[in-house]
């Protein structure tokens, strides 16, 4: 029961923050709402007993991605300068489509009875994740690191001042 109430509170908070991200005209405000969403998700991770992920979520999303977004907004001052509106011409149609998509997908998902395993989360989760990275998932792990490197090189090259 407590879990349910907690979930509802966190979920409602997160969705509200998400709505804020979507509707805020000011990009700085939107970025702030986004940080709120990231926090909410981290809280849900804790609720799901995935503490490692919650930590990672805060460090990566808030520490890196959100900061990056704010930097980008500042680097291109006036990015939102002369816009006539925050939304394009198809927004109302997009909204309709989204509601349809949401209704359909959640209906499809809920219809499926998932066989929940009533086991508790392992205590050595972090250790298992770690050994997964250097064991079975070593190839994806290495590929991910190369991916980060490529993104770094590409981002620097693209965003560098021109002379």
């Amino acid at each position: 029961m407590v879990g349910q109430i907690l979930f509802i509170i966190i979920a409602a908070f997160t969705l509200l923050m998400g709505l804020g991200t979507v509707v805020a005209r000011n990009l700085f405000h939107a970025a702030l709402f986004l940080v709120g969403v990231f926090f909410g998700i981290a809280a849900l991770f804790i609720l799901l007993e995935a503490e490692f992920l919650a930590m990672a979520q805060i460090i990566i999303y808030i520490g890196a991605i959100a900061t990056l977004i704010v930097f980008a907004i500042m680097l291109s001052k006036g990015m939102m300068g002369r816009e006539a509106g925050a939304y394009n011409k198809q927004w109302y149609f997009a909204g309709g489509a989204m509601i349809l998509f949401f209704g359909l997908l959640s209906w499809l998902l809920v219809k499926m009875p998932f066989a929940a395993a009533n086991a508790s989360a392992p205590d050595d989760a972090i250790q298992q994740i770690g050994s997964g990275f250097v064991g079975h998932y070593v190839v994806p792990f290495e590929v991910a690191s190369v991916l980060l490197l490529v993104a770094l090189v590409g981002a620097i090259m693209l965003a560098r001042e021109r002379n």
Partner: protein
């Protein structure tokens, strides 16, 4: 675990839809990117919930999420760099104004 799994799924779907809505309707490319981040986060909730409810002993769900983090970070870096580059050329990053290629 008193919260049914379906609640998580519906929550994730809702967040995903919100994100997609931003992608479809916001003019500013940075706002669109934020929408993409919302979508990826929503899927992360899915993955973690599935892991916790279905196979708590096998941690591939959590590992998947870590990889999604990586991809999200790389994507954001490249995307924002592209936007800065475009802003320098066009003085705008409104997606609907970037449409020279259309025939």
């Amino acid at each position: 675990m008193t919260v049914p799994l379906s609640w998580y799924l519906i929550f994730a779907t809702a967040l995903f839809s919100l994100g997609f809505f931003a992608v479809l309707s916001r003019r500013n490319a940075v706002a669109v990117l934020m929408g993409v981040e919302l979508m990826l986060n929503a899927v992360n909730v899915n993955l973690v919930a599935f892991w916790r409810y279905l196979t708590p002993s096998d941690l591939s769900g959590q590992i998947f999420v870590v990889f999604v983090f990586t991809v999200a970070a790389a994507e954001a870096a490249v995307g924002l760099a592209l936007m800065i580059s475009i802003y320098r050329t066009r003085k705008t990053i409104n997606v609907d104004e970037i449409n020279d290629l259309n025939l």
